[in-house]
Amino acid sequence: MTISITRRFTTSLLFGLAALSATFLVGCSSVKLDDVDGSSSNGNFSSQPWNDPKSPLFEKSVYFGFDEYTVQTKYQNMLSAHAGYLKAHPQQKIIIQGNTDDRGTAEYNLALGQRRSDAVRKALALMGVPDAQMEAVSFGKEKPKAEGDTESAWAENRRADIVYISN
């Protein structure tokens, strides 16, 4: 008696897990976030303008000085290209991911990275992009693009990336 109940339970549990993984896999292929490096699972590298090296949207990173979160004027053209695209595509959403170098404490760096992503968000908002299309978040120092305790690694990590969310 006990055994048969256990068996039935195990079977339904396995079935449930299989269904879950199927859902999970389907979900992964139909809804994904584009990575900053432009990798695309369907192999069509330039299917979206932000993945096309010839597009003005290909540049998606803004760099900052130590403990700074002011967007330098040299990024105006790049940001206005993104603003233009976003205004023309009101369904398109982006996440702006702020990062910091490895020095200092985790939570302050998280807030600092957020000031960087928020500075980019504000610049785009001033260019007319609605807030509903944008979310500014931060990885702080937790996801460094460049490893190592060198000035060049630190400079590479003081950065905000615009990440387009594929619909």
Partner: protein
């Protein structure tokens, strides 16, 4: 669709990744003592009689606990045993240089069940100080040994020991992150959460039953509250933007958290079930790392409202009740305030010429001192008795844990070979 998938992913990760704090982890923490206190109390801990019946040596755990406390030196390190039932020869022990004596024995009462008996003697006063008789299963022997070490500290020094408290920290192996719970000595590591994304800022509830933390598993910082006994967790806060820096009120009913939903990072209050969100700080730049004073009246926090990050204090009811007051003045770049359990000391991390170093300041006198010569210190956390601070630092490019007594004398480094160890948080007393 996205919401639906997120929900399934979230359910899956809870089902698969966080099965309570049960899965045993194989990592072994190495402890290197790099500094010892002065005027150490000489104590003889004799090997417990019939201890060879145990899978774990309680004598060694007690000796290690006392050694790492920075208050004791062991005068007996060998295998000699002595019958704990009689009265010790006080004169003979005094001649051997011991001011206190620990005797113990083990009785096996079942296949995996033991009685641990221990007695403590003050050699100088020729006085028996009582002892403990502990029933312990084989897998609970470390806890029994820690309990005995705590009893020794309490009876000889008059203060509560922290050997039975626990730590939470994050182990990074390659690209995997594990939030773990361990004994106060970093051993007996149990997984609470295993993730492909960073986990930071674990924070113990005052009753020691839950840990709040920040996980990046949803590609942004989100705060969870994790119940250790069951492995169940709730999403405490997932507002637009960042959710981070959870800190419990002393009564455990609410938390202060940092959110960027209104643009810049600001401090909010929230009930421990995720309801009742309300804003507390009113800055225009960064306000983060809230910490309640032990009496619950104030929140200490980091703010760069004056240009560089410094420590401020506001009413626990919010900045509008009583304007925020700047606390730190001596260094140009100060973050990570932590208040001692008695409310008298503030630990923090200061940037001195590019070196991030652990400091402590006496809040009444303003006297401050560096506790380390580190360059990458972070995440300080006081022991429940206020005597030690555990923090994270870098050794040879790898993150390790380190503990220091608040007088700066006693120091140890805790490492797991091949792994990064970071984000420590020291748990409360458990009774």
């Amino acid at each position: 669709m996205l919401q639906f998938v997120k929900k399934w992913i979230s359910l899956l990760s809870i089902a698969i990744l966080s099965l309570g704090v049960s899965a045993s982890a194989f990592a072994q923490m190495n402890i290197e003592i790099t500094g010892v206190g002065q005027s150490l109390y000489p104590i003889a801990v004799m090997r417990f009689q019939d201890e060879n019946k145990l899978p774990t040596s309680v004598t060694e755990i007690i000796r290690q606990d006392l050694l790492r406390s920075g208050y004791f030196k062991n005068t007996e390190n060998g295998n000699a045993t002595e019958n704990p039932s009689g009265t010790p020869n006080y004169k003979s022990w005094a001649a051997r240089g011991a001011d206190a004596l620990v005797l113990g024995s083990v009785v096996q009462t079942g296949p995996t069940q033991f009685e641990i008996h221990y007695k403590l003697f003050d050699i100088r006063k020729s006085q028996a100080l009582g002892g403990l008789d502990i029933n312990s299963s084989a897998d609970n022997l470390r806890a029994a040994a820690h309990k005995i070490a705590d009893d020794i500290v309490y009876k000889l020094l008059g203060e509560r020991g922290i050997f039975s408290t626990r730590l939470s920290y994050v182990i990074k192996d390659g690209k995997r992150y594990r939030l773990v719970i361990s004994d106060a000595d970093g051993q007996n590591i149990r997984n609470a959460l295993n993730s492909a994304d960073p986990i930071i800022s674990p924070s113990w509830s005052p009753d020691g039953k839950k840990v709040a933390y920040v996980s990046f598993e949803d590609r942004k910082p989100v705060i969870y509250v994790h119940e250790l006994a069951t492995g169940k967790r709730i999403m405490l806060s997932n507002q637009k933007g960042n959710n981070s820096a959870p800190a419990w009120t002393p009564d455990g009913k609410q938390l202060a958290i940092s959110l960027s939903k209104d643009g810049n990072t600001q401090i909010y209050g929230i009930n421990s079930d995720g309801t009742g969100l309300h804003r507390l700080s009113r800055g225009y730049t960064i306000d983060t790392e809230p910490q309640y004073s032990p009496d619950g009246r104030y929140i200490y926090f980091t703010s760069d409202r004056g240009g560089s990050p410094q420590i401020y204090r506001m009413s626990a009811e919010g900045e509008q009740v009583e304007g925020a007051k700047r606390i730190s003045y001596k260094q140009g770049f100060v973050t990570s305030p932590r208040i001692s359990p008695d409310g008298k000391y503030l630990a923090y991390i200061a940037n001195i010429g590019g070196a991030y170093r652990l400091y402590i300041v006496n809040l009444a006198t303003g006297d401050s001192q560096a506790l380390t010569d580190g360059t990458s210190d972070e995440s300080p956390s006081f022991a429940a008795n206020g005597r030690y601070i555990i923090y994270s630092t870098k050794v040879n490019g790898k993150r390790v844990l380190a503990a220091v007594s608040v007088d700066g004398n006693s120091k140890q480094v805790l490492t797991i070979p091949g792994s990064d160890v970071r984000q420590p948080s020291w748990g409360p007393f458990m009774d």
